[in-house]
């Protein structure tokens, strides 16, 4: 430890820096109410299973790569093998597939760690 010499600060004139109770208390209460509301908050984001996601499910989806964006959804892969019937069915389904009505949704079962 390197001792730093005292600058010309007079302790008798220095602010005591005692905090008032109420500002901290009021902010803490606001925080507590927000946290409680957040824990019970149903977001506008859909889940894969249907229904809306809880805020905790949405937060969990961030860390487990559980968010699905409609723009990034890729069509199903073509069937393997040389079955022309299956190939035709796949081509028809891909052609007739409508754009999803959702923009983003939560896969609550996702378990992949976020690709940090």
């Amino acid at each position: 430890m390197q001792r730093i010499p005292q600058p010309p600060v007079n302790p008798a004139l220095r602010d005591v820096e005692g905090h008032d109770f109420w500002p901290g208390f009021i902010v803490a209460v606001i925080g507590l109410i927000l946290a409680f509301c957040g824990a019970r908050h149903l977001t506008a984001v859909d889940t894969v299973d249907g229904g809306n996601a809880w805020e905790t499910q949405l937060v969990k989806a961030f860390s487990f790569d559980g968010l699905q964006y409609a723009d990034k959804m890729s069509p199903p892969p073509p069937p393997r093998g040389d079955d022309p019937e299956a190939m035709e069915r796949w081509a028809r389904e891909t052609r007739e597939a409508k754009a999803p009505t959702w923009k983003v949704r939560v896969d609550t079962a996702a378990k992949t760690p976020c690709p940090t």
């Binding site: 220095r14 602010d15 905090h19 969990k60 860390s63």
Partner: protein, 295 residues
Amino acid sequence: MECPVPECRQRPPTELGRKLKRIRPWVQTGFLGVWLAPLGQWLHGIPSCVFHCYSCPLSSFGCPIGIAANYAALAPVALEVPYLLLGLLLLVGAVTGSLACGWACPFGFLQDLLGKIPIRKVALPAWVGHTRYVVLVGLVILLPLILGFKGIPYGDQMISICRLCPAGALEAGLPTSAQSVMAGNGWPMSWFKTLILVAFLASALFVHRPWCRIFCPLGGLLALFNRLSLFHLRFNPKECVECNLCRSRCPMGVHVDEKVNVSGCIRCLECSTCGALEPCFAVPKQAPKPTMPPK
């Protein structure tokens, strides 16, 4: 440099200061067990109040900065208010200020350990702390908000701060890469991220808590509450002998002898060793009792 106050050399540290200094590493170790709990993955839905990567295979709770950046990235598609995150940060900030940085943050603890390696430390000017707010507003909020889930043009990552975060490189990238190397699949972590990790580890040897002092957006946010938090440090002028032990002990380079509840402080309480700075909780002031008029 010689201390100008002759009596300070004889002055022993206070009992409280000694006790706090002794128990702090143990408290930090205990909190490490909370944030890195292998069975705690079900807690990922709840944000923590410290800086640690939720992609770590052992992590419990969510990284508040990662969550904030994800909310910002989600905003162009679905505007959601992170009530839980805001509430928890307000609550922790209003009650303890940046105490979590000094006593609970696993990333800060790692930097404390690296800082114990006896290499002469470089002193940083106080203004570098403002960079934390640039990171908070620029990288955590604005960049994901503007670019949304399309992300920055670097790989397929959508969150900008996570791309640059050394905690992510250390807690998630390093174990994953080590596993991959052991399986014979090479080093998957990008050279950019590896470079950030190496630069961070090297800088922690020469600067005390470099991440916390220059870049940490969470530390910057919690430190804003230091001016009003219920837990705070109070100056007792009667105990001050002008020895300046408080400022000399401060690892964060805060001018403790002038003002202590400032944004650069991580509330490690090292400065309380001298006895003139006392950790305390704010209590409601009692109204003065009415005195009986003299008969």
